[in-house]
């Protein structure tokens, strides 16, 4: 009896806490349908009067489509660059006869303990000198450089677990190293690449400090930064519009999340455990 009761209490506790984690979604949706004045008297309840004009209004003052396009370019660029370069380096470290491979992996691991903010000042100056500031490449490259460490470490763990016969067979069939890598090894580690893609997508889409500090032109800002500036500039007076802006901003990640929350869970944990 006592056991049953405690199990029930734990269940209630976990469900309440679980609901608190998805509360932001309810909150944003709820705000986005409220009038300006209702937010102040009825902040967290359901709207008494539903309005749908917040969405068209926000599109007038908030450059959603520009930010969205930028976020998409940064994210895709980052994912492609990191995975291409990272998988090649991981392959070289784990499967090729390279005498410095141990040194290389320790060197790459340094990236795990250097937060981006540490080098943001010299990066800012470097990018300006290279005339890469406020270009897509100018943000994709540093973001990818910082995402590289964990990508290489995780893919290395995967490559290491594969049997050597794979390359032997490829070699006998007359593949050269490049064909072996792109035609045989990459397809074999597809699950790991999928996991990395999810992780990198989430990381790049929500990346804040680099994009906030390095990008100084409105036309090149990604969504997260655009949203932050939207708050800071308009000052928050009309929370209904803010709610709509937040929903539009979060929509892509929420959709990815709804399609594969289990995949994301697995990716997040796999990425961590393998390090």
């Amino acid at each position: 009896m006592k056991k049953k009761l405690s199990k029930f209490i734990i269940k209630v506790l976990l469900i309440v806490l679980g609901l608190s984690f998805i509360f932001p979604l309810y909150w944003m949706l709820n705000l986005s349908f409220k009038t300006k004045s209702e937010v102040y008297v009825n902040t967290f309840g359901l709207p008494r009067e539903w309005v749908f004009t917040n969405y068209p209004d926000v599109l007038k003052s908030y450059n959603f489509f520009v930010y969205f396009k930028n976020s998409l370019i940064y994210t895709v660029g980052n994912v492609v660059l990191t995975i291409l370069v990272g998988s090649m380096l991981a392959y070289c470290i784990t499967r090729m006869n390279w005498k410095y491979s141990k040194l290389a992996i320790s060197y790459i691991s340094i990236g795990l303990v250097i937060p981006v903010q540490v080098v943001i000042i010299p990066l800012f100056i470097m990018l300006r000198q290279l005339r890469l500031q406020n270009t897509y490449i100018g943000l994709i490259i540093p973001q990818a450089a910082f995402a590289l460490s964990s990508c290489v470490l995780m893919l290395s763990a995967f490559f290491r677990s594969l049997p050597m016969e794979l390359e032997e067979a490829a070699c006998i069939d007359g593949c050269n190293i490049y064909q072996t890598f792109f035609r045989i090894m990459v397809p074999v580690i597809k699950p790991a690449i999928a996991t990395q893609t999810v992780l990198l997508f989430m990381g790049a889409w929500n990346e804040f400090p680099l994009s906030y500090i390095l990008v100084t032109k409105e036309a090149y800002r990604p969504l997260t930064v655009g949203l932050a500036n939207f708050f800071l500039q308009i000052g928050v007076t009309h929370w209904g519009i803010v709610g709509a802006a937040m929903i539009l901003t979060s929509l892509p990640t929420v959709i990815v999340y709804l399609l594969g929350s289990e995949k994301i869970e697995n990716a997040l944990t796999a990425g961590a455990i393998l390090k």
Partner: protein
Amino acid sequence: MNKYFSTKTSIFIFAFPGLLLFTAFVIFPLIPELIISLQNHDGFASSGYVGIKNYIDVFQSSMFWKSNRNTIIIVLMSTLITLPFSFILALLLDTQTSGVRRFFKASSVFPAVLSVTVIAQMWVAIYEPQWGLLNSVLRAVGLESWTREWLTDKNTVVFAIGTAFLWQYIGFNMLLFYTGLKSIPRTYYEAALIDGAGPVKCTIKITIPLLQDVIKYLLVISVLGSMAMFAHVEVMTLGGPGGIARTIVYQLYYTAFMTSEFGKGCAYAVIFVIECLIITLIINRFVARERIEY
């Protein structure tokens, strides 16, 4: 076979792009950083070397110590509160039916998936003094005297930001602990049960030692993550009135980009990177690292 593949050219082609990218944008900038930290630099040009004056200025400014204190508070919150709490959640989750487990696991990653801007803004609404959730609840239960302006009061602002930051990642930490728990073979617990060990003893003697790897990993990422917390401070408070909410990273950003003292900003960054390295070394030293195989 490997010899056949591993010519000098092919190793170069595979390894070079990654090493170049990493070196040029993660490691190399540390050099100009050191150099600029010894200069009087306004972001565009240097007006000469000033020796260690920037460092002396930094150590003498009260903001340096205040921002360090704020950073330490957040780091302590994340190690002493969040980690044990998320570990307990993982243990509790393990006792539940699969339906509850699935719901809780799925919802726990949601805040980590959302953009920090959204999370920070939600907490701004929770802390809002007039109609915010926190003060409304306090008023409703008759604790009127506890209500305050959470994000402008110098006694509460750091804890308020810290709570928002930690809430965002607690589910993720829980999930890692839970995955770790699941990988421990059940037979260990069965054996302990036969020997008469209770659940508490099992946790201390079996679970925690076998979760070392996970604990260490989480310790490192939570400490470094909370030391580098920036977005929450910026979006929630802009550093707070008089800079009361600034963390060391925020102070670094502020010094360089708001007051154009790039030399001093770099000095902050050099000090910060040394702090990060010391902490990582301490964790590595005190949490043993042995690969655990079952």
